[in-house]
């Protein structure tokens, strides 16, 4: 997966590049709009991460020119300004998602993966499996090591999210939005509690432990 980042702020650019590279992506970095547009038009990227405020050529202009030249790769906008008009304008120009600075890297990574997954829908599998943990979407059943586990509807949705995106660190905000449709950060430890309960059912009595807390970032489910 090849990602192009167009970002003029040196530290932001460097860390985004490093973070994505360490997550297994091939990353190119452009420091201004003109270079970014050139790379985007000539290269073959699966995703474009575009800062709105760029020297030379703004993010809007880059996106507009890019779309006119027939490039259809998904675009994730980054901006320091959170204005409804900006958001609408970005989406009208064909941006696929929008992140307002400051944002958590885990949130950024989750959005990147969602965008890359989009369009490659294919067949959604009806059964998920990580190590000896099995989740049957049709019959809505969960079993570990062949032993049936009873989950509430929300616990099931939470586990499904973690298993579908196994190996990815999921930030709390993403979990809240995907499982409960709450699009804001709660200032309570509600996600921790929900997670603890899920682990009590799925992990506590079993080895190895599959769900892991990544402090300061979120949660990940993966086979060790």
């Amino acid at each position: 997966m090849k990602i192009l980042i167009v970002e003029d702020e040196p530290k932001t650019g460097d860390y985004l590049q490093q973070g994505l590279a360490e997550s297994g992506f091939v990353v190119e970095l452009a420091r201004n709009g003109v270079d970014g547009l050139h790379l985007a038009v000539t290269g073959d990227h699966d995703l474009l991460v575009l800062d709105v405020m760029l020297p030379g050529l703004s993010g809007w202009q880059v996106l507009e020119t890019l779309r006119r030249s027939g490039k259809e790769m998904p675009v994730l906008f980054l901006t320091a300004r959170d204005q409804v008009e900006d958001r609408v304008r970005g989406l009208e120009l064909g941006a696929d998602d929008y992140l307002v600075k400051p944002f958590a890297f885990s949130e950024f990574l989750a959005r990147v993966r969602t965008l890359l997954r989009r369009g490659r829908s294919g067949m959604e599998s009806t059964a998920l499996r990580v190590a000896d943990l099995e989740l049957d979407l049709l019959r809505r059943r969960v079993a570990r090591g062949g032993q049936r586990i009873e989950l509430t509807a929300k616990e099931f949705a939470l586990l499904e999210l973690l298993m579908r995106r196994q190996g990815e660190v999921l930030p709390r905000s993403l979990i809240a939005s995907q499982v409960w449709d709450m699009n804001f950060d709660s200032d309570t430890n509600v996600i921790e509690v929900a997670m603890r309960r899920l682990r009590a059912k799925v992990d506590d009595a079993f080895e190895p432990k599959l769900i892991r807390t990544v402090r300061g970032m979120g949660y990940v489910l993966e086979a060790p």
Binding site: P102, A104, K154, D185, T188, V190
Partner: protein, 459 residues
């Protein structure tokens, strides 16, 4: 154009025009009265002379006497040099006439009754005449026509002089009145100028200044009071703004200083990887909190400026509450808190914002409900409003804090500012801003172990 004239100029102009008009009318009235008076004088004089002629004519009892009538008539009337006389006998023969007597022909229509005879006026050779004519019978029964006129020149001259002086007087008086008006306007408007000076002295640093509403005339007192109210609102808004900036700086200072210290201490000597990891993890949590605070503040700023209402759709409050209960179910369950919902209701607004407002109240209630407690949400219609009450058991909030709960960064216990599990201190302020943006209100009450937050929506 008149709107641009100064008040003083306007009042002066109105004074001048007004007094000029009044004086002109008065002058016209006086002039007219004098002229009528002169007419009556002339008429009385002519009537006297005609009566004299009548008397002489009435004594004529023979043709010889008629022919000699010119003698007594001449004696009686020819001596007056500004009197025109013409006496015609029964056969229209001239019995007596002053040399230049030329009476207009309409004077020949003669009345026998003097009191009814009209007074004629005409000009001749540059002179103005008033004339009276009548027919008198002689003792023989024949008719004698008598017409007399007097030159009204001296009266006219007097009138002309009077008119000239009246004009002059009116002009001077109008000017004088204008001057007086200007002076009065300046004096009368002096309080306005002093208000202007006081208002000019109000700056951002002296917003506590007020205009002297008591010391100005009644007409201006209202204006002064209104301006004072405006100043009060400005002062309040300004105070909030500067409080906000200093609160903000303060709120950011503590976590940033912690982060700085922690990082510098960590760097001061080599450590093992686990220590570095622990420090970075702790930093990440702190940064996340800061990011959330910034997002909250931006949201608050937008909501308070009415920029955030994106949607105006029907929102089912009960459904939103149930969704939030779903979200908090695990948390409540773990702490043995019962969540209950009663009633339902629809409001118009932005669903995401309203959900956020409700979430802030619920998370706040959950945070302050002790294990084994209860959080009850009630939706009722009351007095034309839709009320949503979030009620939780727990420590009573002292009354002096209740109103201030909705201020940004206000905490009942300042020591808990950075305690784990505490919010950014903006939740209730955001709730209030969202409610205001929906033309609603939020209030808090707390007594005997029960705290209630009430959202009021216009219904």
């Amino acid at each position: 154009m008149i709107a641009r004239l100064s008040l003083t100029a306007r009042l002066t102009l109105l004074f001048t025009l007004g007094s000029g008009a009044v004086l002109l009318a008065l002058g016209g009235l006086v002039g007219g009265a004098i002229e009528r008076h002169f007419e009556e004088l002339d008429r009385a004089e002519l009537t006297g002379k005609l009566q004299h002629a009548q008397h002489l004519i009435a004594q004529v009892d023979s043709l010889a006497q008629l022919e000699r009538l010119s003698v007594p008539l001449g004696d009686a009337f020819l001596a007056h040099h500004d009197l025109l006389v013409q006496v015609l006998g029964p056969d229209q023969q001239v019995l007596l006439a002053t040399p230049d007597a030329q009476f207009p022909s309409r004077l020949q229509v003669l009345e026998t009754d003097l009191a009814l005879a009209p007074l004629w006026t005409w000009s001749q050779d540059g002179k103005n005449y008033r004339g009276l004519a009548a027919t008198f019978p002689t003792a023989m029964g024949t008719q004698v026509q008598v017409a007399m006129a007097i030159d009204s020149e001296h009266h006219d001259a007097f009138l002309r002089t009077l008119q000239r002086s009246l004009w002059l007087f009116v002009a001077c008086a109008a000017l004088l009145m204008g001057l007086l008006g200007w002076f009065a306007a300046r004096r009368g408007l002096a309080p306005l100028r002093s208000m202007r000076e006081q208002a000019a002295a109000v700056t951002a640093h002296s917003l506590d200044r007020r205009l002297p509403a008591q010391a100005v005339p009644a007409e201006l007192a209202d204006l002064a009071a209104t301006l004072n109210e405006m100043l009060e609102r400005l002062e309040e808004a300004f105070r909030r703004l500067s409080d906000f900036s200093s609160d903000l700086a303060h709120e950011l200072r503590t976590p940033i200083s912690n982060l700085m210290m922690q990082t510098q201490v960590a760097l001061s000597r080599p450590r093992d990887a686990d220590s570095y990891r622990a420090i970075l993890e702790s930093n990440a949590e702190e940064f996340e909190r800061l990011a959330r605070m910034i997002a909250d503040m931006l949201f608050l700023a937008k909501a308070e400026n009415g920029l955030a209402i994106v949607q105006d759709e029907p929102v089912d409050l009960a459904r939103e509450v149930r969704d939030l209960f779903d979200f908090y179910e695990a948390l409540a369950d773990e702490r043995h808190i019962v969540l209950a919902l009663m009633g339902d209701g629809m409001v118009q607004g932005d669903r995401l914002m309203l959900r956020r407002a409700l979430n802030n109240l619920l998370s706040n209630a959950l945070r302050h409900t002790p294990p084994g407690g209860r959080v009850t949400v009630t939706i009722v219609r009351q007095e034309g409003q839709l009320l949503l009450r979030v009620e939780n058991t727990g420590e009573t909030i002292p009354a002096q804090h209740l109103d201030r709960l909705f201020e940004r960064f206000y905490r009942v216990d300042p020591a808990r500012q950075h305690a784990a599990g505490e919010g950014t201190g903006l939740g209730l302020a955001i709730t209030q801003a969202i409610l205001r943006a929906h033309r609603g209100a939020v209030s808090a009450a707390s007594e005997s172990g029960l705290t209630v937050f009430t959202l009021r929506f216009p219904y």
